[in-house]
């Protein structure tokens, strides 16, 4: 076998002569990042911007878990009642994750940043939380599962994809847990809605409700305000 100048001998050569040479060399330098680890620096968000967004998330998750809890007593459909009780906790837990993250982002008074993105977002959330009557289950569910939760999914996904996977790993971990819940809850809610929409009139009701709320959400820019999903993509001319 040909010698390999400057490199460790092959295992068979090294082992020749009854020596018990180590199979690996602990002192050999290895790259700090494995070839499959594609994490990079920097990310899109500064510490301050991350804290601002996290504060917005916490505020929105709080308003959501409160109303899900409040609605439990107002919906006559037993299956919906029980799902709302379960989801109420999911969103409370998300708000707790964000509450704990804020001091780690140099915000020692978490209440200071636990605010809505803007006044338009308050108007939107007030509208989502407004239905009360027992015959308004469709309006309640459409607001949460067809308008609000998809916006959580969008804002969290944008944040997850944009932030640095090295410097902001703790936020990413929380985003991943929250997103998993959001997807599962969205599916539960959407299936409940589909099971309730058993006439063309109810489908129209759901559509009207969704349209009203979509307009309010648009005016707010989303859960973290304008830029919740980043700047609109610019069309690039190839001419």
């Amino acid at each position: 076998m040909a010698p390999r100048p400057g490199r460790a001998p092959y295992l068979t050569e090294r082992s020749r002569g009854g020596e018990n040479a180590p199979v690996t060399d602990e002192t050999k330098p290895r790259a700090p990042f494995a070839p499959w680890d594609r994490r990079e620096l920097p990310g899109l968000f500064s510490v301050e911007e991350t804290a601002r967004r996290v504060g917005n998330y916490k505020w929105a998750e709080m308003r959501l878990f409160e109303v899900l809890g409040g609605w439990v007593a107002t919906v006559p459909e037993l299956d919906v009642k029980l799902v709302l009780g379960r989801h109420c906790y999911h969103h409370a837990w998300h708000s707790e994750l964000w509450h704990k993250r804020l001091p780690e982002l140099r915000e020692m008074n978490p209440e200071r940043l636990t605010v809505p993105a803007n006044d338009a977002f308050v108007t939107f959330m007030d509208a989502v939380r407004e239905p009360e009557a027992p015959e308004h289950t469709i309006e309640k569910l459409v607001g949460v599962y067809r308008v609000l939760i998809p916006r959580f999914i969008a804002a969290y996904t944008y944040h997850l994809n944009g932030t640095s996977r090295i410097t902001d790993a703790p936020t990413i971990r929380s985003l991943s847990f929250a997103l998993q819940d959001e997807f599962d809850d969205w599916r539960d809610g959407e299936m409940l809605i589909q099971s309730l929409l058993d006439t063309p009139e109810k489908i129209e009701r759901a559509g009207r409700r969704q349209e009203e709320l979509e307009k309010l959400a648009l005016a707010s820019g989303g859960i973290a305000g304008p830029g919740s999903l980043g700047e609109p993509a610019q069309e690039v001319s190839v001419a």
Binding site: F65, V72, A73, G85, E132
Partner: protein, 277 residues
């Protein structure tokens, strides 16, 4: 949506039939049943009506869980951030999830035991304890009095499951019992934290708890004696943070209620006898 939803507005589907507590207490059939003197009221497998009584109690547990879920949910919503701390609301949201699971368990156990939703009536006075406008009083009434009662009920049902050779019932009641101990601890913790510097508010909360406890002792339903349907689960209550003194006090209150119930039954029986002679 408005804050503070009265019990009259609790939303139910058409299977549910609501009854008032006074209708139950003053039901004229009660005196006739009491006059039969059928032995101790404690849940026991050798009683001829054991299966029927356990089904009725299971349905009562189910509607109680629905109302506990609704009450915890309203506590998340009814108070703003200055009236109820963020962490308290998180605890109530957690309780929502727990109560939601208890509803699911109770529905499946009801099926298992041969009853169905709406076979028995629902009294909503459990939820009414969750309508108190002071969050401390509400937690004392719900988490210490009612969830304390739930410890007694689940412990009794667990024992009944064991004695009747029903491992499914015993298994499920044991899991729910574990959650209820947690809920009582939440109530005790928040009572201590929120009234740390306000002994007057603490006393009002404890008084409210005693009132709720007294309602649920009514007619000798719960106590330490053989004639009580539900037995006081002292060991689990201690795990949940109740002191021996509190348990003794509750036991004394239960004996008083049982005695009152006996006197009422005797009076009713005498009145029935007078009518028939």
């Amino acid at each position: 949506m408005k804050k503070m939803l009265p019990e009259s507005e609790l939303a139910r589907d058409e299977r549910f039939v609501r009854s008032k507590i006074e209708d139950r207490i003053f039901d004229p059939r009660g005196a006739k049943i009491a006059a039969r003197n059928t032995g101790p009221a404690k849940m026991a497998t050798d009683r001829p009506a054991a299966a029927e009584r356990s089904r009725s109690l299971m349905h009562g547990i189910f509607v109680g869980e629905v109302q506990a879920l609704e009450g915890a949910g309203r506590t998340c919503f009814d108070f703003d951030d200055t009236e109820a701390p963020f962490q308290l609301k998180l605890d109530m949201a957690r309780q929502c999830w727990d109560e939601s699971r208890h509803c699911e368990i109770s529905i499946k156990l009801g099926d298992h035991m041969g009853t169905e939703i709406g076979e028995y009536t629902e009294s909503t006075f459990l939820y009414s304890a969750a309508c108190n406008p002071d969050p401390v009083l509400r937690l004392c009434g719900v988490n210490r009095a009612l969830e304390g009662l739930a410890i007694d009920v689940f412990s009794t049902m667990k024992e009944f499951g064991n004695e009747s050779g029903d491992p499914v019932l015993e298994f499920c009641e044991d899991w729910m019992l574990a959650d209820e101990v947690t809920h009582v601890k939440m109530g005790s913790d928040w009572l201590r934290r929120l009234t740390d510097k306000d002994p007057e508010r603490r006393e009002r909360a404890l008084e409210f708890q005693r009132t709720v406890d007294a309602i649920f002792n009514l007619g000798g339903f719960r106590g330490d004696e053989e004639e009580n349907v539900i037995q006081l689960a002292r060991r689990f209550r201690e795990l949940a943070g109740f002191t021996e003194e509190e348990n003794d006090s509750l036991s004394a209150l239960a004996r008083e209620s049982t005695e009152q119930a006996r006197e009422m039954a005797e009076m009713a029986t005498a009145a029935l006898n007078a009518q028939s002679s």
